[in-house]
């Protein structure tokens, strides 16, 4: 199971501490997590299911490019961080 941490900016939507989700890619892990937490979906993904323009994801310490973040393959013990991109602030 991947370990997913969310930015503290979303603390009123997701609890402190990591959540667990399974998936072979970042997108799959997020999809399984968002299925259980549907109120978070629109904060991370846009209308068409793409990563929001000003949200960025780190996988095992690497900042993923927005275009390919969701399709990045991850291992079973991946550590993901869903952060606000400073471009949006």
């Amino acid at each position: 199971m991947a370990e997913i941490h969310f930015t503290s900016h979303l603390r009123n939507l997701v609890p402190d501490g990591p959540l667990s989700a399974s998936g072979a890619t970042v997108g799959e892990a997020l999809a399984s997590l968002l299925a259980a937490q549907p109120h978070v979906r629109g904060y991370v993904l846009d209308d068409q299911g793409g990563l929001r323009q000003h949200v960025c994801i780190f996988a095992d310490g690497e900042r993923l490019s927005r275009d390919s973040a969701l399709s990045r393959r991850i291992g079973p013990d991946a550590k993901l961080y869903v952060m606000q991109a400073l471009s949006g602030g």
Partner: protein, 354 residues
């Protein structure tokens, strides 16, 4: 007169009430989050948010702003041409007296969304999204075109008028099944001359109508101020003794001859002339204009008033005005004298008497 005012700002939603000592903030909500517009309908307040990182959201309060619940924001369906993502909720309006439970959202990109269940669910009006003229629309102030004015017709439940920056003014007479572009007489100097009268590329900054005489509409256009006496089909450019650039306009709710605008130096500057803020009013259908400055800053003022930043109550006497520099004023006498409520609010996007 209305004794309560909603003020949507770059850093939250403020509720103000008029006390014996004057207007005062009585509630704040969404501190730190941009609130692009707000509406009160049938005892419920709707607030449109635009998180910098996490996108546009919609919230609803049934207790006048003390508590809020998030609703699903409108979204473009995956099969909408171009499949865009909602960037901003720009306008929030009611369905008018024939459809009291209906709500309209005008968005950027220029989608028109309808709810018939108090905002629980929203549907894109695909007939408008699919008009071929949309290929000629373009953004004004934002990257994508957007809908900022949605005007139900109080006489006819199936008629609705909208305005798009930059996509002209449109009307449906069959409850959204089909749309016609209106706007004869509008002229756009920002395109090659042979396209200047193309109705589908006009930039109406804001359009309002007189509630008691709905055929009368007023427009602050990107280039000039216009009035229509036939519900938007034909427009006449009015001649003003001051700058005729700006964004905001409000119409007197009963007097079809009266409207207010907030002049600014035109598009390359967008600030008050000589640093002196004024409001201009006509009371004779646009033949003559009164320029009103009492109570407004007359030096070093850089206040710009956005499209929804000027409000009038149902009496036509009480006005409110909020600016980009976070100043808020009210007037009790039709704009002749203004009182500063607060000079230190966040940049103001919209004011609305409730």
């Amino acid at each position: 007169m209305s004794d309560r005012l909603l003020v949507a700002t770059r850093k939250g939603l403020f509720t103000l009430e008029r006390k014996r000592s004057g207007w005062a903030v009585t509630l704040t909500a969404f501190a730190g989050i941009p609130v692009t517009n707000a509406l009160r309908n049938n005892g419920v307040i709707y607030a449109a948010l635009k998180h910098g990182h996490f996108g546009p959201k919609l919230h609803r309060s049934g207790d006048d702003g003390r508590s809020w619940r998030e609703l699903a924001a409108p979204a473009f369906p995956a099969d909408a041409a171009g499949a865009p993502s909602l960037f901003q909720i720009w306008s929030l309006d009611t369905g008018g007296r024939h459809r009291p439970d209906r709500l309209w959202i005008g968005a950027i990109p220029a989608g028109l969304f309808r709810s018939d269940d108090r905002g629980e669910s929203w549907h894109l009006i695909s007939s408008l999204w699919n008009v071929p003229e949309r290929a000629r629309w373009f953004g004004g102030g934002y990257d994508a075109p957007g809908i900022h004015s949605v005007l139900p017709d109080p006489r006819d439940a199936d008629r609705l008028f909208i305005a798009i920056s930059c996509g002209g003014v449109w009307e449906t007479r069959d409850d959204g099944a089909t749309w016609s572009v209106l706007g004869k007489g509008l002229v756009a100097p920002y395109v090659p001359p042979e396209q200047a009268e193309d109705s589908a590329i006009q930039d109406p900054h804001r359009v309002v109508r007189c509630a008691a005489a709905p055929d009368v509409m007023w427009m602050q256009h990107h280039a000039g101020i216009y009035r229509s006496a036939d519900a938007g089909t034909h427009w006449t450019r009015l001649s003003l003794p001051c700058d005729d650039f700006g964004f905001a306009v409000v119409a007197h709710p009963r007097d079809a001859q009266t409207a207010w605008f907030v002049p600014a130096i035109k598009d390359e500057m967008r600030m008050p002339r000589d640093g002196a803020l004024c409001v201009t009013r006509t009371s004779d259908g646009g033949k003559t204009w009164q320029i009103m400055r009492e109570g407004l800053p007359q030096r070093e003022a850089y206040d710009l008033v956005y499209r929804h930043g000027l409000g009038v109550d149902e009496s036509g006497e009480r006005l409110a005005m909020g600016s980009t520099t976070g100043s808020l004023w009210t007037s009790e006498d039709g704009g002749e004298r203004w009182q500063l409520v607060n000079a230190h609010l966040p940049p103001i996007y919209a004011v609305r008497f409730v």
